[in-house]
Symmetry: C2
């Protein structure tokens, strides 16, 4: 095989971390029928064509179109700048970071088999200014991603780059643009039609945080030279497992169930995702959105106010051992930990043998950095376990397009199953609306005058300032 | 003035976010004497010369030496690679990110008035391999930072780069090294002496997370071209306020007190730090270590087991509005929020006027990205306030060496005061020891055979694997 994903739940269990903090096999057995019912529901919806995200692993026709476009773009451009935010930026970033060398953009051109990737997702003028300075229009493709074509940050950045793009390229500027948007409606679709700009579709019913297996994740990935058909094959491998009623063979459902039980039965409401590889940190960041937006909800499905949801954290091993692990080991018993073991590192660095008269570092001699990093991971696993902190491990045989596809699809299904367990809708995000509307009001958009008045009333109170 | 820091606590108060979630002025008044006693204690220790970190803003002699070294280095090298982890890496990274342009390393050389900075803090072989590929020995200075000279990740990385360095530079390699370490003892000090390697001191009694105003933060900062004397001046401005018993004039103490009261009286045990500027995200990451390691403790000062400590989160506005704000607004009432407003952005980007027939984006026309980002910040402030989520704001007039010095010194003092309020020692980190020892054991260091046996016993149980 050589490209498997395994979930090791040993250290979540009460006989390892203690009855007060660990999950018992009885807990799991008692809760499994609820998970089974959720799986049955998901499978029925999938069968009825009502869960488009489960169809994505089969979208080989889209892959062909993307690869064809990417091949031509690689011959024509040096940079791709993705303008998108939330799931529209984190998916591509996660794939690129996981599957291409570190410091990708800074490697000499001849060491890169794909475009440099810039993702100025924030509407931070200092960031976009720098991106425009580093990426001259002539050698740059702009990939604009928003389903509705209304996302403020994305549309503002798109408009901001249009002026220099038109100035430099005259009527050729449209060939430096590609859109990923709604198949039939919305502002970007309208612009694409009227100006003949190349575009890809975000399939109906697939929300931002679940869009990695659409062109949102796959087009940037292909442009940097990732084998995206292998990414989808990995997703397919997990889809084949994800409705399985045998818990031994369904990592997605078991992952969701253990997090849910640790939260509701053992008060572990902070879920830390901690890969031991810099390459995978953006995957943990992507997971943070998936978990926070899918599960952090005011209302449950019966429309009762529940204010629920675990808080996800992303940490990086070994770096955060020198930052967060003090709190993880000694602080409140309010967390679970998910290690990601990346298997073999794709580059190895020898430590060599230096200053062997120094006794306190002699143990490093003739080892490798990879060996040290694995030891750090196992040591932290051990320290957390000894301190009665439940932790599990997602073990990849290797970091490859297939295993990353498996990992991300598995976590998506986990979010859906966890939504069922928490009895909330994992597919919506009503809580971001208030901020969007307030932004419109503060930007002076017409029709939002009442909201603006309300905000100004709140802001007009006497501030309490300490200085 | 033009370079002030102000703490706006309006939206932490019960008359704004409600009595159930906000702090009352009575709460504050009742708790202030405890803060005053802590300040008195800190001032007495400072007076007795027992709190070296309070002396750092005066260390102008060190500044001169650093600037002299940096000036020569800037003429000789193109890159500085910092080898350090925890406070030894995050301090320099935070200063560089806050005070130099975005995408610093990728800007054309003529747009940079300092060295490119690489910080491979993790012992990840893929990362160090890439750094070595991008930074040829001939044009690179390696800055190795560890007080004891025993930090596994740092020493391993140092040894790993030594071989190619010696190969490329022969006996000139020592001039491509600079150490920041203990003034008198430890492995790096010993090597510096025997090989004549240039070194700077980490003053006694200053721990990693409090070392930004030592050469640990200042040397990398000077090498990238930051005015470090202004950074220290900012720190000095806050030191002058930080013992103040008048709460209206002591932002550090008030910040600590409000976080403590929100936690202990209103169950807000997750503290989110959310700057609205990409440049400041690494400052929020640095804060995470400061808060987690200083306050996350098993034992209080009476050696009672308390398992205490808030969990810090770093978020980035507006990016995390599309990732975490759903949870922040609708999830459990368990968080406080600290916005950082950066004042004017140092680069501005015009949105221009495009497609003005599209009604839903017309409000963006002729605005700037900076205007949008401020509106997003105020909108999120409003949305959180309306959802009864206590939040405060640190407002900088501008991001400058002085205001960043103020901000970081203020937060350091806040961590000390919070330590007093939680009745824990904010200066130690005993919880990381278990992991260090386990790493030694797993790396086969002699003398750790018993620990290894214990780990192997734990690891030998039948694993429960789902796949």
């Amino acid at each position: 095989m050589g490209h498997r994903l395994r979930l090791d739940i040993t250290r979540m269990l009460s006989d390892v971390v203690g009855i007060e903090h660990g999950i018992t096999l009885d807990d799991i057995e008692a809760a499994w029928p609820k998970a089974e019912a959720i799986l049955q529901g998901l499978e029925a919806r999938h069968g009825a064509g009502d869960m488009p995200l489960f169809d994505l692993p089969d979208s080989t026709d889209v892959v062909d179109k993307i690869l064809d476009f990417a091949e031509k773009a690689k011959g024509k451009f040096r940079n791709v700048v993705v303008l998108g935010i939330g799931g529209s930026s984190s998916a591509g970033t996660a794939l690129q970071s996981a599957l291409k060398p570190q410091l990708w953009n800074q490697l000499p051109d001849e060491k890169r088999d794909g475009l440099r990737l810039f993702v100025p997702d924030n509407s931070d003028p200092e960031l976009l200014h720098a991106v425009m300075e580093v990426c001259p229009p002539e050698e740059t493709l702009y990939c604009v991603i928003t389903k509705s074509g209304r996302t403020a940050e994305t549309m503002a950045s798109f408009f901001a780059v249009l002026t220099p793009l038109k100035e430099a390229l005259k009527d050729q500027y449209t060939s430096h643009l590609v859109f990923i948007t709604d198949p039939s409606k919305g502002n970007l679709r309208q612009i694409a039609r009227s100006e003949g700009i190349r575009s890809f579709n975000i399939p109906a019913g697939v929300g931002g945080r679940f869009s990695v297996f659409t062109p949102v994740g796959l087009l940037p990935a292909a442009l940097v030279g990732i084998d995206i058909s292998q990414v989808l094959e990995g997703a397919l491998l997990q889809r084949e497992k994800c409705f399985n009623r045998d818990l031994q063979a369904n990592p997605a459902a078991v992952y969701a169930l253990l997090q849910y039980l640790a939260h509701t039965e053992r008060e572990k409401h902070i879920h830390v995702m901690m890969p031991y590889a810099n390459a995978l940190k953006p995957v943990a960041d992507w997971f943070k959105q998936l978990w926070a937006e899918s599960l952090g909800k005011k209302f449950n499905m019966k429309h009762e106010a529940v204010f629920c949801g675990p808080t996800p954290l992303a940490a990086l091993g070994a770096t955060d051992q020198h930052s967060q692990v003090q709190l993880y080991v000694e602080g409140p018993h309010d967390k679970t930990f998910t290690f990601i073991f990346p298997g073999e590192y794709r580059k190895e660095v020898k430590i060599g043998r230096h200053y062997h008269d120094i006794e306190t570092t002699e143990y490093l001699a003739d080892k490798t950095l990879g060996r040290l990093l694995v030891a750090e991971a196992e040591a932290t696993q051990h320290a957390l376990t000894a301190a009665h902190r439940p932790n599990m491990a997602i073990k990849l045989d290797e970091v490859s397009p297939s295993t990353i596809g498996q990992l991300m699809f598995m976590l998506e299904v986990s979010a859906l199953v966890a939504g069922g367990l928490y009895e909330v809708n994992p597919l919506d995000q009503p809580g971001v609306e208030a901020g969007k509307v307030a932004t419109y009001a503060l930007m002076g958009r017409s029709g939002y005058e009442d909201i603006l008045a309300e905000i100004e009333k709140e802001r007009s109170r006497n501030p309490v300032i300490i200085e």
